[in-house]
């Protein structure tokens, strides 16, 4: 058993739902108890979908157990077919139904439905949401994709975009952006899947010359299979950030023998100049902590370091499947890697590191809010506000613009930071005023309440160190957004130097020590 407070990923059948909901003409029959229908709200509320997910739950109850759960399943499958008339049906079990072993695949076969039925085996007690999405997509591709007969048709070379799903972080906009980018290079998109694809579209996957793996977490398995069985090479560089987008373009050019130098020499994004312009100087060396799914976290770390001039003080991911890549990236930036799906461990790490900016998921946003640290969301799981009405991709040249704006926004603006320091004694301009654009809590003086478990704070600093009241008063004069760091650094300095009582002198000694 594993103790979990918040989880980054849902169970694997939620991953399957993300694929089914993304597609058209697919229905998912899920053998599951009634409470599992909560998953619908992820799509209708968080992503604001205007249709119910194409999922029928059998909602068996205790009184059905040992009796007719199998019949219940068959009735539900038949009913769902007649009502929704899908082109294909996915059938599977959630965690509870897995234990009662009704064999949804076998049961569905006995019904003789006139459409393809794809059984899903998603081990709920071992695997999680991304794996479930990946496996479901793979099973669908394997079932429907056929090898192209004869030579390629003339005209522009074509590719498939693989991986976007329902509830994906900015998938809707990434698809548009990458489609546009490929268009500029002279490529046509043959099929995008699973988002908005039908089973019939999957059957056409083989018509493409190559595949683009947008989200390796979801599409890598399918892409590998297509590579082996249909002979389609794959591009595996998610174009997130300027550097990665240029790498992506170069990879596509190398694969297809096309000349991409025009696009590579132009700079259709504002991000590089916004970053070089003097107002951005204050961004230099801001300490950021990055956490998310591996693909987005690795990409964000690169942008943070190379394109924003931040210092990456920690990098991590919740999906172990890509732990190796995350470790390699962390080593490259000289920071520790954190591979965990334990929210409490992430919280402790952030509390210890005291970064100035957290780039994470909605979980890290909660943590950051409590610790009063600026935060931007870069990865699923995300909340309703991370599904904006406006176009806001993460990928391509526009994605780089979007990230510049969304990451800088929560940081205190250069000028404003300066003013805050200058006027910190002004009655209207003290801590409690706070930066005007800090979102939710702004203006309310959200002192980090004791939400961090006491041991997280005391862990590294012996309880024997105390502060004189003068020193505490001095600390208050330090702007609130750097105060946590100042307190911590001072305590570390005191500890290293065997100082048990911190006075005003210690603060300034520590400051000059760490300024070196």
């Amino acid at each position: 058993m594993k103790l979990a407070v918040w989880t980054y990923e849902g169970p694997p059948h939620v991953g399957a739902m993300r694929v089914a909901t993304a597609m058209k003409g697919v229905h998912y029959l899920l053998h599951a108890p009634q409470g599992d229908t909560y998953a619908d709200l992820l799509f209708t509320m968080i992503e604001r979908r205007g249709e119910r997910p194409p999922v029928t739950y059998t909602t068996f109850q205790a009184r059905d157990l040992g009796g007719d759960t199998a019949d219940l399943f068959k009735d539900a499958a038949r009913g769902a077919y007649e009502r929704f008339l899908p082109q294909a049906m996915l059938v599977g079990a959630s965690c509870t139904a897995e234990l009662i072993q009704d064999d949804p695949g076998g049961l569905a076969k006995t019904l003789g439905l006139p459409i393809p039925v794809v059984p899903l085996e998603l081990p709920s007690y071992q695997k999680k949401e991304n794996w479930g999405a990946s496996e479901t997509f793979f099973q669908l591709v394997k079932r429907f994709a056929v090898k192209r007969e004869g030579p390629a048709q003339g005209g522009a070379p074509r590719c498939n975009l693989l991986g976007p799903t329902a509830l994906g972080f900015r998938h809707r906009d990434d698809v548009l952006e990458v489609t546009r980018l490929l268009g500029q290079l002279g490529f046509e998109v043959n099929v995008t899947a699973p988002l908005n694809a039908t089973p019939a579209d999957l059957a056409r996957l083989g018509d493409a010359d190559f595949n683009v793996v947008l989200y390796p977490e979801i599409a890598e398995t399918a892409a590998t299979w297509l590579e082996k069985n249909l002979g389609q090479p794959a591009i595996r560089t998610p174009p997130i950030g300027i550097g990665a987008t240029r790498d992506f373009i170069a990879a596509v050019a190398a694969l297809t023998g096309r000349d991409a130098s025009a696009l590579l020499h132009s700079m259709p994004s504002n991000q590089p100049w916004w970053s070089r312009s003097v107002d951005s100087t204050y961004l230099t060396g801001k300490r950021v902590f990055v956490f998310g799914d591996a693909t987005h976290a690795i990409a964000a770390a690169r942008i943070a370091r190379e394109e924003m001039g931040f210092e990456v003080v920690g990098l991590g991911a919740y999906n172990r499947e890509f732990a190796r890549e995350v470790r390699a990236a962390a080593e490259h930036y000289g920071c520790p890697a954190l591979i965990t799906d334990d929210y409490l461990e992430v919280e402790r790490t952030i509390a210890d590191l005291q970064p100035e900016l957290v780039l994470g998921t909605q979980m890290e946003r909660h943590i950051a809010k409590r610790l009063n640290i600026a935060c931007a969301v870069i990865s699923a799981p995300a909340h309703v506000q991370d599904f904006p009405a406006r176009y806001s991709p993460q990928m391509g040249f526009e994605g780089a613009n979007v990230m510049f704006d969304t990451w800088v926004h929560p940081l205190v603006m250069g000028l404003e930071e300066h003013l805050l320091a200058m006027f910190r004694d002004d009655f209207e301009f003290n801590d409690h005023a706070g930066p005007s654009h800090l979102g939710h809590g702004g203006g309310k003086a959200v002192e980090p309440t004791v939400a961090v478990p006491p041991q997280a704070v005391t862990e590294t600093v012996p309880a024997t160190i105390s502060w004189t009241s003068d020193a505490e008063a001095e600390l208050i004069k330090i702007p609130f957004f750097v105060r946590g760091k100042a307190r911590r650094n001072t305590e570390i300095f005191a500890e290293r130097n065997g100082i048990f009582r911190i006075d005003v002198e210690t603060i300034y000694d520590a400051r000059s020590h760490f300024a070196r």
Binding site: M1, A62, L65, Y125
Partner: protein, 432 residues
């Protein structure tokens, strides 16, 4: 007693209730409802030194997290012990595993005085005996910590039935009664602010002593016995009610305290039981009642004559329908409830107009067909259905707010009406 037993027992006692004015539509199909685990979201806020440990799967953890959504900012006093392959394949002893996880929880939260082990579908299906685990853990960590268990599983409980199961378990901790005169216990978790309002009203009437169950702190569980008179604040507490009666407590049946009329009738039941004079009762109740009526009048302008369709969710539906019909002049078309506890809600149902369809249980697809055909002015439904129905042009109100926000009593009557009026007003306002 397990929840399963209670459910069976409830089924036996149901037919004895008063006949209903309306026929009940029962269809079998997909039930689009939460399971009882969801109650943890409000129960853990209510009982401030309790911790809820779900013994379940990743799905269970994800459910609570999704239902809690925007509400949880502080470190929550709930968590899930997620069972893994090892636990199921017999490679790990689930009891040892549970003990280890509990120790972890207690190390992190030494301030906890009451721990609930909450069963889920997977733990029920593999027949993990949480009552034995609770006894073992109580013995090990007691007396400062008491450990109880109940099931919030989706195969046995629907949404608010989780609170019913939780309170049923908690009755075991109620001290033996020492009182020699009748005393009042209000049953069902209410927001503190509402509790305080009711407490003031009861004490102004001159009631000797009023307790609330569940209490804010585990040590304050009221004593229960033959001198106990209890009023349910929520209609979904059938099993709790039965368990209290088993201890000799006497139920005071009344409509539920929603709106000016519902609240008055509910308070009246207590006043009658404690022989409060009509003059005193009226003088205590009148100001709040008038305030409530004034607040409702404003919303009645928006809502009167409008039709309303209620999907099953919390068992509050009959009470809400009564409120919407009687106090806001709305026209209920269908009133769905996951479970119809006739004994508890007959007074609400008997006040509904004829022609209302009363439905118990659900086949969500067919119910959606009926709803679309009826084109109600307002649909009250769960979060999974709201946006799809809005997209089809129907105004909706998420029923989950009825259990997450303060809606009981005189001073919340206006807010309660506002919950229903807002979507209707919004539909009228928007020009896009």
């Amino acid at each position: 007693m397990t929840v399963l037993n209670l459910l069976a027992r409830r089924a036996e006692t149901a037919p004895a209730a008063r006949p209903l004015p309306t026929e009940v539509l029962r269809q079998r199909g997909q039930r689009e409802v939460f399971c009882g685990l969801t109650g943890i979201v409000w129960l853990h806020r209510k009982i401030q030194d309790a911790f809820f440990l779900v013994v379940g799967s990743r799905t269970c953890a994800h459910l609570i997290q999704s239902a809690a959504g925007v509400m949880v900012f502080a470190e929550p006093r709930f968590a899930t012990a997620i069972m893994e392959e090892r636990d199921l394949a017999g490679m790990a002893d689930p009891n040892e595993e549970l003990d280890r996880v509990v120790a972890q929880v207690l190390e992190r939260r030494p301030d906890i005085r009451l721990l609930f082990l909450v069963g889920s579908c997977p733990s029920e299906v593999i027949k993990l005996d949480l009552s034995r685990a609770a006894a073992r853990l109580s013995a090990r960590h007691g007396p400062d910590l008491r450990v109880l268990n109940y099931s919030g599983s989706g195969i046995e409980t629907t949404f608010t039935e989780g609170e019913d199961a939780c309170l049923t378990a908690m009755v075991d901790l109620a001290p033996v009664e020492t009182a020699t005169a009748p005393h009042l216990v209000v049953v069902g978790s209410l927001p503190d602010i509402v509790e305080d309002q009711f407490r003031r009203l009861f004490s102004a009437m001159g009631l000797p002593r009023v307790d609330f169950f569940p209490p804010r702190r585990a040590a304050d569980i009221p004593e229960i016995g033959p001198q106990t008179r209890f009023l349910l604040a929520q209609p979904f507490l059938g099993a709790t009610s039965q368990k209290l009666e088993d201890r000799g407590a006497q139920p005071l049946r009344a409509p539920f305290p929603f709106g000016a009329e519902g609240t008055t009738a509910w308070l009246q039941a207590a006043a009658d039981a404690f022989k409060i004079s009509p003059a005193v009762f009226n003088s205590v109740v009148a100001p709040g009642r008038e305030r409530a009526k004034r607040a409702l009048a404003r919303h009645r302008e928006t809502l009167q004559g409008k039709s309303v369709f209620l999907f099953p969710d919390s068992q509050l539906e009959p009470s809400m329908a009564r409120f919407l019909y009687e106090e806001l002049d709305m026209r209920p078309i269908e009133v769905g409830t996951p479970y119809l506890n006739k004994e508890l809600v007959s007074c609400e149902i008997s006040r509904l107009p004829s022609g209302v369809v009363l439905s118990e249980g659900q086949d969500v697809d067919r119910q959606l067909d009926r709803c679309r055909a009826a084109k109600p002015d307002l649909t009250i439904c769960g979060l999974g259905l709201a946006n799809p129905l809005e997209r089809e042009g129907l105004a909706t109100k998420w029923s989950i707010e009825l259990v997450f926000s303060p809606v009981h009593g005189f001073d919340q009557a206006g807010d309660l009406a506002g919950l229903f009026a807002r979507p209707v007003t919004r539909h009228a306002m928007l020009g896009v």
